[in-house]
Subunit: 358 residues, 2 copies
């Protein structure tokens, strides 16, 4: 499907959602979809967790996936944007890794169709983890002999298991365990009418009545509940021209257009999940909106052309806090270590040396 | 005790150690010493672990204690030196946090007498976590309401429990759980004569015969087994003048002298533990010695004035790998999060903004 026709089809879905939102409240499914070409196994999940936490996958050995997608927190870094190698930062805010497995497509602009494809991005991005290419990343892992048995256990059929594809598959398998069920909202829609406060229940109705569910639909609040291999994109701001455009710099980043170059993709963005949204401030693709209250005001104005009143705002924010789920207890991985020999390059010509302190 | 008399007293201890090393092989005690003014409690340990992993204790919200003292690895960052705020790096290599509770004093130069005192250092060090002062760090924690009940549980008698002293006490309490017992060496000295390979057992004897145990004595291989509140310091290089001085820049950092300003402290350093030494490359205070083999050669020459042969070297290195212990399984902490409002300052004037990527 071409982007334009896809957009029209999705607009149709939005209209459907707008009329049918009352029936749409769904709890989070116990497990996200598992792709046929990357089945889950405990060995693969364990390897993926280890890789996710291993800073040696970055040029300086200082940043792991978890540095910016902190699973001990809301799955992001609570910063406007992340800080990568050489003190660089990107223009977009790190999205949460929690429940990312329920998203249709990955990255703010949806340029990765799968978690597997996404996982490769930051490792070799010069302003994120900064490995110059996949071969360098794989070479780094090959310098750690204790990784080989972990890859063999995770990919028993592979003759040469340490590859960038398998790194990505293992990380994706781990990410598919990062789900937060059993939020007050989930308990409420499963029948426990005491799970939401009166204000949260009011906010839930307001959230539907305003039309927020047109896009933030489905169990993950990130799109209609259907196979979404093509991704669910919306224009942001849909109603351009409000004072927010300038206040929060909403137009300088053209979103999906920046990666496809297509005019029809200008300011098109993947609809992000709202699960745990209270835990992932600051907001929007550029992280320039500091609070959840302000984020709701911005979205109401830019997407629905509504100036919502103080009661609506407080109620919707209260509802959104009910989307914070239960984070599963996790054990820390043990990183496989080389014996007696550091694999991180000792020379960092980009860095200045300051006074000794440790 | 003044530094000079302390040094003389310790030299006496060294002589004692040199003559008595055959009796000195000891396993790691089950628990490190616990100071009377900071008794352990589960609530305090849990809080300490949470703080240890919380990057919001750094200026940009990007670095936690664990960033440089990675407990999922060897308790350090396997880098020559760490990278702090604003891309700065210090001149010294991050010491391991594992078994630090058995060290007499903290930091390479021993300028902190306790883990509590040490814990405060990096948080407000401008080239490490970069909080401008303790009040700013405490203020940051006060912006996270969910921290208050954790501090109250850990410090039930305190009327105002969120203080820098209590932050340090909690972190120290957690660090006193970071012990790695049951290494092959420990099993061997407890009576399991199969726990070491023949080469490792040979290396153990060589290690003692060469005189390494004069300083790397006791259960933690960091000093004589006795109350060491004053710290156990040695001159490095003791035998200055070898080619290693220049090759590895061993003289430009004057060690304890750099913090005390006293001539008698020139090139005096705390004797660091050798436990898990195979996992914490690169080596020495400046991290300039890349491998364990080379570190042993350097120490034999600079401290014992010995050019050891290839067999001795291989045997001692084999023995040192037997000091890698069992790392306890740990659960990840859940960081208390603010609801809907980021507490990390949104403006980082020091940073350049690069192209969007997330």
């Amino acid at each position: 499907m071409k982007p334009l026709s896809r957009y029209l089809a999705l607009s149709g879905l939005c209209a459907l959602a707008l009329t049918a939102h009352a029936q749409q409240w769904e709890p989070l499914p116990e497990h996200p979809p598992i792709p046929a070409d990357n089945p889950q196994s405990q060995a693969k999940i364990d390897l993926g967790k280890t890789l996710f936490f291993d800073p040696r996958l970055s040029e300086h050995g200082t940043l792991s996936c978890n540095s910016c997608h902190n699973v001990m927190a809301g799955g992001d870094d609570n910063r406007p944007n992340s800080i990568g190698m050489h003190d660089a930062r990107g223009g977009r805010s790190a999205p949460t890794v929690w429940n990312a497995a329920y998203q249709s497509v990955q990255f703010w602009d949806g340029r990765a169709g799968t978690l597997e494809e996404q996982a490769k991005g930051p490792i070799t991005n010069p302003i994120e983890m900064g490995m110059s290419d996949a071969a360098v990343a794989v070479g780094r892992l090959n310098q750690i002999p204790a990784y080989l048995p972990l890859f063999k256990a995770a990919f028993p059929a592979a003759s040469k298991p340490i590859t960038m594809d398998n790194v990505a598959k293992a990380i994706a398998a781990y990410e598919r365990t990062l789900v937060t069920p059993d939020s007050p909202y989930d308990r409420y829609v499963k029948g426990d009418k005491t799970a939401l406060t009166a204000q949260q229940a009011r906010g839930m109705k307001t959230f539907g009545d305003l039309g927020c569910t047109a896009c933030h639909a489905g169990a993950n609040f990130s799109g209609p509940p259907m196979p979404m291999a093509q991704g669910f994109f919306m224009k942001f701001p849909t109603f351009a021209g409000s004072a927010f455009d300038k206040q929060y710099d909403l137009l300088s980043d053209t979103g999906r257009h920046a990666s496809t170059g297509k005019d029809s993709d200008k300011h098109m963005w993947r609809v992000p999940t709202l699960r745990n949204i209270a835990l992932t401030a600051p907001y929007m693709h550029n992280g320039k909106v500091p609070t959840l209250e302000e984020a709701v005001r911005v979205m109401a104005k830019t997407q629905l052309n509504r100036d919502i009143d103080a009661t609506q705002l407080a109620d919707v924010v209260a509802f959104l806090t009910s989307l914070s789920g239960k984070f599963p207890e996790q054990t820390m991985p043990r990183l496989p270590l080389t014996s007696g020999n550091s694999i991180v390059p000792p020379i960092d010509p980009h860095l200045k040396t300051a006074k000794a302190t440790d």
